[in-house]
C-alpha cells in the first residue's frame, strides 16, 4: 500500500496533484468516489482506491460516475467524481440538472483539462461548466492547493447545496510537488436520504421554482468569493502591470514577473469582481493570464474594466514563462526578441503499438483489404491511423465509431457505393458508449461490420479494469460481461457474431473479408489480452534466419516494434523491373513470442532459436 495512506498530519510528501486530491478526499470523509479512466485524471481514483474507508469504483462512463456520486450525496454521504475534460461532456447531462436540484452530502466534481493535448482529441476549458451550470469553480495551481481546495470544496458544497467543480490541468495532475498534510480523516456522518419529491423529482413543475433559488445561490457565492482566502493578492513593487490569473498560469506569472502585483484566483467562479476592481485601481495596466479561454477577461471587460489578455496571449495551448515573456514584455515597453535557437531536426518519434499487441492482427487485415471506410474510436487502436497501417479514417469521441459508421452507410455518397463500412472499437469504449450505437444500427437496419477489439483492459490509460475484464478497481473478481451474448441481445444475428484469435492472421483477414461482404450488421470480436497487462503471457522470443529471409518485407507491414529493417537491397528482375528488397531482424529483448509475424513469412525464416546448450561447470574447490 502507498505510504501516503498511513501518513500523519504535519508530514511532508512529494505528491502529484492527483495523489493530493485522493488524500484530501480521504481526509474530508468522502464515502463514495467514482470515475472512468482518462488522462490526466486517471490516477485520482487509482489513489483513492488505496484508502480502505472509501467505497470507490470504475464506473462504465463519466455520466454514470457522476450519477453514482449524486446518489451517494442524496444519501447524505460526501462523494467525489473525477474525469478528464471530455468526460465532463458525457457527464454534463446529469450535472446540469443536479445543479438545479442541489445536493445533500458534499458533492465535488474534479475535472482535469488536458491543456496542450498531450493525450486527447481536443482542448476544452472546463471552467465554462461553472458558468453554464451555475456551480462554483475552484482552481488549484499545484499539489498543495489541490489538497487544500478539495478539502474546502466539501463544506462549501454542503453549505450552499451545490456541486463544486475543482478544475485541474495536466500541470497540476501530473506535477509532483511538496504537500504538507494538515489533518487526518474526519468521519462524515451520512444522515440518509431525506425524501422530498418537490426537491428531488425534477419535473417541470418542481424544477421551475428552483431556478430563482439557483440564481440567488450564484449571488451568494459571489459574496463568498469576495471574502474567500483562496483569492489572494500578492503585492509587488513594479506596478506597471498587475496580473489577474488562476491555476498553473499563476506559477508562470510569478516565475516570469516576480516583482509584479498578482491577484491569484483560487475561487475563480464566481469571480470576486469588487476586489479585482480595487486591485485594478492600484496598477497601471491589468493583464489577465488564463488557460485557455478568455472567460475571466470577458467578465472583467463586461464589468467595465479595461484589461489586456488574449489580445497578446495565445488562445490555446499551455502557457509557460517562454510564452509569457514575448507577449507581456512589449506591454511594458520592453522590446523582447525570442532568442534564436537552432531548431532540433531530429526525426519524430510518434507512439506506436506494442510488441504482441492484439491490435496488430486486425490492422494488418484492415491495411490489406481495399474498399473500406474505417470509422475509428478512442483508444490505443486509434494508432492504426498511423504508419505502417494507415487503416483508420476517423476518430471523434468515445463510442462514436458505430453510430458514425451507421450514418456513413445511410448517407453513402456516390463514390462510396461499393465501399464497405467498418467500425473499430475497443472493449472498454464499447461498454462506455459504443453499445448504444450497435443497438441503434440494428434497430434501424444498418449495415456495418464492427471490429470489437477486446484486449480486456482500458489500454491507453495504463491497463485499468472494466466490466469486460473480470476484475474491479481493486483487482477483486467481478462479473465479466459476455460480449457475444451482449451483441446477440442487442440484435446481431448469431451467424454474424464471429470470435477470432487476432494472432491468427490468415483467419483474421478472411473473416474481415467475409463479414464486410454481408448485407447486414456483423461483429468480429478478438480475444487476446493487452500485452502490457498481467493477463498477457510472455513467451520465448523469435529471430530471423538471415540466409532464409528473402526480403519480401511482409513481416515489417505488421508494424510490430520488435521487427526492424536490417538492410535494403535493390534487385533487377529478368523482366528488367527493379524491386526493393527489405530484410528484417527481430530484437530479442522486445519480442514477446506472440508468433504473429511467423504467419507473414512464406520462406519460414522466422523461428524460435533452439535452447542454448547448457554447459555444467564443476568447480571442485568451491
Amino acid at each position: 500500500m502507498n505510504a501516503v495512506v498511513h501518513a500523519q498530519a504535519e508530514s511532508r510528501h512529494l505528491l502529484s496533484g492527483n495523489e493530493a486530491v485522493a488524500r484530501a478526499a480521504w481526509e474530508a470523509g468522502v464515502r463514495v468516489a467514482a470515475a472512468y479512466p482518462g488522462t490526466p485524471a486517471t490516477e485520482i481514483l487509482e489513489n483513492i482506491a488505496l484508502y480502505p474507508d472509501i467505497y470507490s469504483e470504475w464506473s462504465v462512463n463519466e455520466k454514470v460516475s457522476v450519477e453514482v456520486a449524486i446518489g451517494a450525496s442524496l444519501a447524505g454521504s460526501r462523494a467525489l467524481a473525477a474525469m478528464k475534460h471530455v468526460g465532463m461532456n458525457v457527464a454534463s447531462d446529469a450535472l446540469m440538472t443536479q445543479s438545479l436540484a442541489g445536493v445533500a452530502g458534499g458533492l465535488v466534481i474534479v475535472v482535469a483539462d488536458d491543456v496542450g493535448l498531450s493525450s486527447s482529441q481536443n482542448e476544452q476549458d472546463s471552467r465554462y461548466w461553472g458558468r453554464f451550470g451555475h456551480m462554483p469553480v475552484l482552481e488549484p495551481a499545484d499539489s498543495q492547493e489541490a489538497y487544500e481546495m478539495v478539502k474546502q470544496a466539501f463544506p462549501l458544497s454542503e453549505e450552499y447545496e451545490t456541486p463544486v467543480i475543482v478544475r485541474m490541468t495536466t500541470r497540476v495532475c501530473h506535477v509532483k510537488a511538496m504537500v504538507t498534510f494538515s489533518g487526518e480523516r474526519i468521519a462524515h456522518h451520512a444522515p440518509g436520504f431525506q425524501k422530498n419529491p418537490q426537491r428531488w423529482v425534477m419535473t417541470p413543475a418542481n424544477a421551475k421554482p428552483r431556478l430563482p433559488l439557483m440564481h440567488e445561490r450564484d449571488r451568494m457565492l459571489r459574496t463568498v468569493s469576495e471574502r474567500s482566502g483562496l483569492n489572494e493578492v500578492f503585492k509587488g513593487s513594479d506596478r506597471r502591470i498587475g496580473f489577474v490569473t488562476s491555476g498553473p498560469a499563476f506559477m508562470h506569472v510569478r516565475e516570469t514577473f516576480p516583482n509584479a502585483p498578482v491577484f491569484k484566483l483560487g475561487f475563480s467562479h464566481p469571480a470576486p469582481l469588487d476586489r479585482i476592481r480595487a486591485f485594478a485601481g492600484d496598477v497601471d495596466t491589468v493583464a489577465v493570464v488564463e488557460e485557455t479561454e478568455p472567460l475571466l477577461e470577458t467578465e472583467l471587460r463586461a464589468a467595465g474594466l479595461n484589461v489586456r489578455g488574449k489580445d497578446v496571449l495565445p488562445r490555446f495551448g499551455e502557457l509557460a514563462p517562454s510564452v509569457l515573456r514575448p507577449a507581456i514584455k512589449p506591454l511594458l515597453g520592453e522590446p523582447y526578441e525570442i532568442p534564436a535557437r537552432s531548431q532540433s531536426s531530429v526525426f519524430p518519434r510518434p507512439p506506436t503499438m506494442c510488441a504482441s499487441c492484439p491490435h496488430l492482427g486486425p490492422y494488418f487485415a484492415l491495411s490489406h483489404i481495399r474498399n473500406l471506410n474505417i470509422i475509428g474510436d478512442i483508444g490505443c487502436y486509434t494508432l492504426g491511423a498511423g504508419h505502417p497501417w494507415n487503416a483508420l479514417d476517423t476518430c471523434t469521441c468515445m463510442g462514436a465509431s458505430l453510430s458514425m459508421a451507421h450514418g456513413m452507410d445511410k448517407g453513402r455518397g456516390e463514390s462510396d457505393e461499393k465501399k464497405h463500412i467498418v467500425a473499430v472499437i475497443g472493449d472498454s469504449t464499447f461498454l462506455h458508449m459504443g453499445m448504444q450505437g450497435l443497438l441503434n444500427m440494428i434497430y434501424n437496419r444498418g449495415n456495418v461490420t464492427v471490429l470489437l477489439l477486446d484486449n480486456r483492459s482500458v489500454g491507453m490509460t495504463g491497463g485499468q479494469e472494466n466490466p469486460g475484464t473480470g476484475q474491479d478497481l481493486h483487482g477483486l473478481p467481478a462479473p465479466r460481461v459476455d460480449f457475444a451474448k451482449l451483441a446477440e441481445a442487442l440484435g446481431v444475428r448469431p451467424e454474424r457474431i464471429r470470435m477470432v484469435d487476432p494472432y491468427e492472421l490468415p483467419t483474421m483477414v478472411k473473416l474481415v473479408r467475409e463479414e464486410t461482404k454481408m448485407e447486414e450488421p456483423s461483429i468480429i470480436i478478438t480475444n487476446r489480452p493487452c500485452s502490457l497487462t498481467d493477463r498477457f503471457e510472455r513467451l520465448k522470443s523469435y529471430e530471423v534466419l538471415e540466409d532464409k529471409c528473402t526480403g519480401c518485407g511482409n513481416c515489417i507491414d505488421l508494424g510490430c516494434p520488435a521487427i526492424s529493417v536490417s538492410r535494403r537491397e535493390t534487385v533487377t528482375a529478368k523482366s528488367g523491373k527493379t524491386k526493393e528488397l527489405v530484410f528484417a531482424r527481430i530484437d530479442a529483448n522486445t519480442c514477446t513470442g506472440c508468433h504473429m509475424c511467423v504467419e507473414t513469412c512464406a520462406p519460414e525464416a522466422i523461428v524460435q532459436p533452439p535452447p542454448a546448450t547448457r554447459t555444467i561447470r564443476i568447480h571442485p574447490h568451491d
Binding site: V175, P248, M251, S322, R341, R349, T352
Partner: protein
C-alpha cells in the same frame, strides 16, 4: 543556476526509466531541504514515444516547466533524444548522454533518417557534453536494467549537493523494496560516476 534554482531535464523513450530517474533526483533534492517540482508529459509514453521529465529545485520553485535554454543539466538516455533536447540546455550547462541508438519503426521504414552521428553533433555544439555507453557498463555488471542508476551516477558530480547523497537515496530505496539489488545498484552508481567525467 539562476535564482538558486537547478533545472534538470531527463529525456529518453518510454520504458527506459526516465521518470524513475527524475523521481530519484526530486526525492533527493526534497531530502536536502529544497522546494521541488517535477513534471512530465507521458500520456502516450509507454508506446515508444518521447519522454521528457523536468526536475526543478531551489529555495522556492514556481513554474514546473523548464524553458528552452534554461536547463542546467541534460540527461539523455538515448543519443538522438540527447540531440533533440539540446536546445533546452544553457550555454553553461552540462549534457550527459548515453550513446545508445534506438530506431523507431518510421525510421526503420525509411520515412525519416536517424542522425548519422548524433554524438559528434552534440560534441560540436559548443557546450560541455559527456557521452558514454551506459548499456555496455550495465552488461558488464550483468543487468541491463542498471542503465538508469548508471546515468544518475554519471550526473552526480554536477549537482549542487554531494554525489553520496544521491547514491544513498537510490541504494536505500532498493534496500527497502528490493534488497537483493541494493549492492549491484551501488556498484552501477560508482561505475556511472567514473564514466561521467
Amino acid at each position: 543556476m539562476t535564482d538558486g534554482i537547478t533545472n534538470i531535464l531527463v529525456v529518453g523513450i518510454g520504458g527506459q526509466g526516465v521518470m524513475t530517474a527524475a523521481e530519484m533526483l526530486a526525492r533527493t533534492a526534497l531530502d536536502q531541504g529544497y522546494d521541488v517540482k517535477k513534471t512530465e508529459v507521458a500520456g502516450m509514453a509507454q508506446r515508444g514515444g518521447v519522454v521528457s521529465s523536468h526536475v526543478r529545485f531551489g529555495p522556492k520553485v514556481y513554474s514546473p516547466q523548464i524553458d528552452p535554454g534554461e536547463a542546467d543539466l541534460l540527461i539523455g538516455f538515448e543519443a538522438a533524444e540527447g540531440l533533440r533536447w539540446l536546445p533546452y540546455l544553457r550555454p553553461s550547462g552540462v549534457a550527459m548522454v548515453n550513446t545508445l541508438r534506438l530506431t523507431p519503426p518510421i525510421v526503420s521504414a525509411g520515412l525519416y533518417d536517424y542522425p548519422a552521428d548524433p554524438i559528434a553533433e552534440l560534441a560540436s555544439a559548443g557546450i560541455e557534453v559527456h557521452t558514454f555507453d551506459a548499456g555496455a557498463i550495465a552488461d558488464e555488471l550483468g543487468n541491463s536494467k542498471l542503465v538508469n542508476t548508471i546515468m544518475l551516477g554519471a550526473i552526480s558530480d554536477y549537482l549542487p549537493f554531494p554525489s553520496e547523497v544521491l547514491k544513498a537515496c537510490i541504494v536505500e530505496g532498493f534496500r527497502a523494496y528490493k534488497p537483493k539489488l541494493a549492492e549491484i545498484n551501488a556498484q552501477a552508481f560508482d561505475a556511472g560516476r567514473a564514466a561521467g567525467h
